[in-house]
Every structure is written in structure tokens, then in C-alpha cells.
Amino acid sequence: MTGRGHYEVQRALQQQLAGLEAEVAQLDGLLAEHARRIKEVDAAETLAGSELAAAMLPELTPQAIESAVRLTGYAPLRQNDPIAAREHERSALQARLGEIEVEPRYRDRELLRAPRIGSLVREVDELEEFRAPLLQVWTLSAHPRRDRLLAVGYGTGKYSVAWWRMSFYGDWKAGDELLERFPRHKSFAELRAELVSTRDTLTVYDARLAELREQIAISEALEREHGERTGALATLEARHLEAAQRLLWGYLRSLGMADLADRLAATPDLAIMYKRLKGMEAKREYLEGLANEQLKKPRQELGAAIQKVRRDIAKWSRPKMAWQNMPEEQFGRRFQDRSERYRKRRERYQQTYHTVYAFDGYHRASLVDDFLWWDLMTDGRLDGDFLPDVHAFHSRHPDYRYERDPLSSFDDSAAAAATSDDTDSSSSLLDAS
């Protein structure tokens, strides 16, 4: 049987794998670039939307709201009554601020909390100072049996543990150990008196300290809340206006090109801004569609092709394949150089992508129902039917024909490159062998 031998097939498979991986790297690079650009388009669309909404609703007054409703037909803007919502919040903020301002822990906050001189702070400092030596005694007396000794009255006449019980001797030993730590006391009774007094005083101090710290915390929380509510009051107008503008913008996004044609006829500046917003929405759709169809899908196919080549490499590495040949015709079909086809496909993508991405002639759009942004962006020279939106438009408007702008500055060479015929474009990335 004639054909290519085992080593030649293996070498060709390795070359094919390298070629496919190189193409994947190229597509990954283009996908990364697309991700960056889509962020730019998003930012531009956001700006266009907020500018249009701000132009349609420049302030939150009854007149401005009526004007915006007239311009857009968006009645919920009036029904939601953003002015009432704003005034409701204003009342609530002012009421709460009033409550806080008469609350002594806020009103007298400086007197209470000023470092070193505030009355609460000073009392905390004093108590801490008094507490320190007591805490020292209490810490020094830390012993697993200390609290028991105090509880059972060890060292006093109340101590009643029988001398034949082990606990009697446990208490005795613990008492001795504690007494050793306080040589100023001659008996445990003396030490006990100090420990009981220390414990009771610490309990009183700690309760007072907790109370003082709670008062300080409440005063701090009130001051924080006052600051937050004052801030909210300062931004009240802007926040409610922005919220109403966002509502309006959300509605504008849901509209088609022709929906505001009549309403915006008398306001050409707003009409241009509206076209700009709609054009950016379309641009984003097209760019995502292009990346999906011409980068992501081929990228998936290449991934599958790479898996297949890897399986074949493993197959042709087995000892039993050492004397196998691949028929010449099959070898030629399997290992034909596809790099040129890949390059053309990428160039076609880049030309189309760039054409759409760079488009800025939004003002040339028409506010009519049978308007296709794709044709305006590409001057009708590029087929966009592979994009779901474009395809759907053509289905809805079977008689639609785009008339080119005679003054268009469209780059013919770009169109030529983007439409260049690639007869194998639909064929498999890797012919089956």
C-alpha cells in the first residue's frame, strides 16, 4: 500500500497542531481586544443615555416632568410622582435630624466625648485609673480554685468542708499557694478580705464602665447618623433627579427607532441625541454578534479540531501504527495548509468590526420603522445577515432596499476586504480523515 509513512504522518500532525494552536492564540487576542472595546462602547452608550435623559428632564419640576412626558409619551414618569417621593424623603430626613439634634447625647457630644475633657471620657479614664491596681491584684490571684475558695468561705468560720475529704486538702493547698503570692497577708482570711473587696469593686467599676461606653457608642452612632442624613439631604435633589432620569432612560432603551419620530420632530437636537443612543445600542449588538459568530464559534471549532489532532497524535504514536501508511490523497486532504484561509477570515472580521466600531454618523439615521443601522454603518456594502438582528429585520421588511449615501466616505477597500470571497469559509476546520 502506497502513501505517507508513520513518521511523516506524525510530523504533519504536530505541524497541524501547532498551526491550530497559533490560530487559537490569534482569536484569543481578538477576543481580548473585543472585550476592551465593548467596555468603551458601554461607557459611551451610558454617557449618551444619561445625556439624553438629562436633556429631556433637566430638573425635577412639574413643568419639566410634563415636558418630558410630552416628548417621550412615558406617562409613568408623571404617575410615579418623583417630586412627592423627593419631598417625602426630605421630610423624613429633616424630622430625624430634628430628633437627633435635641438628643442630649448628640447635642452635648463635645462636652461628653471630647478627648481628655469630655465628662464621659474623663469618667472612663478615672475609672480605668482606679481599676488598674485592682485588676493587678485580681490577675495575680488567678487560680483554678480561687473562686471556689471565696465561695465556700475558706479562711473563715463558715468553711465547712470535712477534713477527711480530699477537697479539704485541695482547698488547703490552693489557699497556701495563693497566700504565697501575697506575702503582705499573714492569713488567708486577710487575703480573702482583699480579694472579696477587689472582686466586688471591680464588678461595680466594670458595670459603670460598660454603661459609660454604651453612652459613648450611642453618642458616636448619633453623630454618624446625623452626618449621613445631612449628606443625604445635601444630595436629595440630585439623587431624585438622577433616579427619574434613569427611569426615563430605561424607557427610551425599550423604544424602536420610529417610536419617537413625531414627538421629536420639533426638537432636532434631542432627535440627534436619541439617534445617537439608538445607534450605540445597535453598535453594541452588532459588535457582540460579530464576536460571537466570527470569533467565538470558530474558536470552539478550533478547540474541537485540536482535540482530534491530539487523539490522532496519540493514535499514531502507538507501536502497532509503526508500519501503517496514510494514502496520499487522504494525506493531502487532511494536511492541506489552511493558514491562508484563517488569515482571510480574521481580516474579514477585523475590517467589518472596525467599520462598525468606528462608525460615528449617528445623525444620518432616520427615525423611521424600516431603518437598519447595519446598512448605515456599513453603507449597505457588507452582508450582515449572519447577525440575528439584521436577519430578523430583513424578514420583517422583505421589500427593504438600502439606498447608499452618495456623499458617503465609506472605505471601499475595507468593504472589498470584508466581502472577499472565501469559498471554503463554511467548510470544516479539519477535514475528516
Binding site: 470535712a162 477534713w163 477527711w164 475529704r165 480530699m166 486538702y169 485541695g170 488547703w172 493547698k173
Partner: protein, 99 residues
Amino acid sequence: MLERCFSAAGFHIEHAFKLAGAGFELVLDGYDPARRVGYEYLTTEAGDRVELTPAVVAALEAAIERGDFHLLLVDELEVADEAELELAAQRFIARLPRP
């Protein structure tokens, strides 16, 4: 350890000594019947907590208080280490009435 301490102090300790009285009957870990002195090491493992019910302990302590005999009652849960037990035994022995 307890046996060593008591023996060092001159007691003739017998193991598993049966001691009975009003309201109690138990087997002591160590006891000198002649001097009526001994000890009982209470452990859960040996079932002492079942045998030495509160009523039995009360009857036993009443007898100790009357001076019928002297027993060091050691609960294993109260012993931190051997040194503590040894000190307790020595102090107990020192408190016993002179023969």
C-alpha cells in the same frame, strides 16, 4: 501511693477491707483494722459512685464524725497529680488523733 504514705506512717494497711456499720457496708481500698484508719479512692471505673450513694456517704461521715474510725475520702476528680495526693495524705495523717 496512698498505701506507701500510710505504711510509712506506721499503719498496717489491708486491701479490700470490708467495713460495715449503721447504714453502710463497703469494701475499702486500704484500712488498718487495729488503728481504725484507712482510705478510699473513689473512681468511676471501680463503680464507687454506684456503691457510695449520698445516703451511704452520709452514714459513713456520721461514723467518722463520731470517731468510730478515720477514713481519707479521695475523689479521683479532685486530684490534679500525685504530689497533691501525697501532700493531702500526709496532712490527713498529721491531723489524726494520737493513739
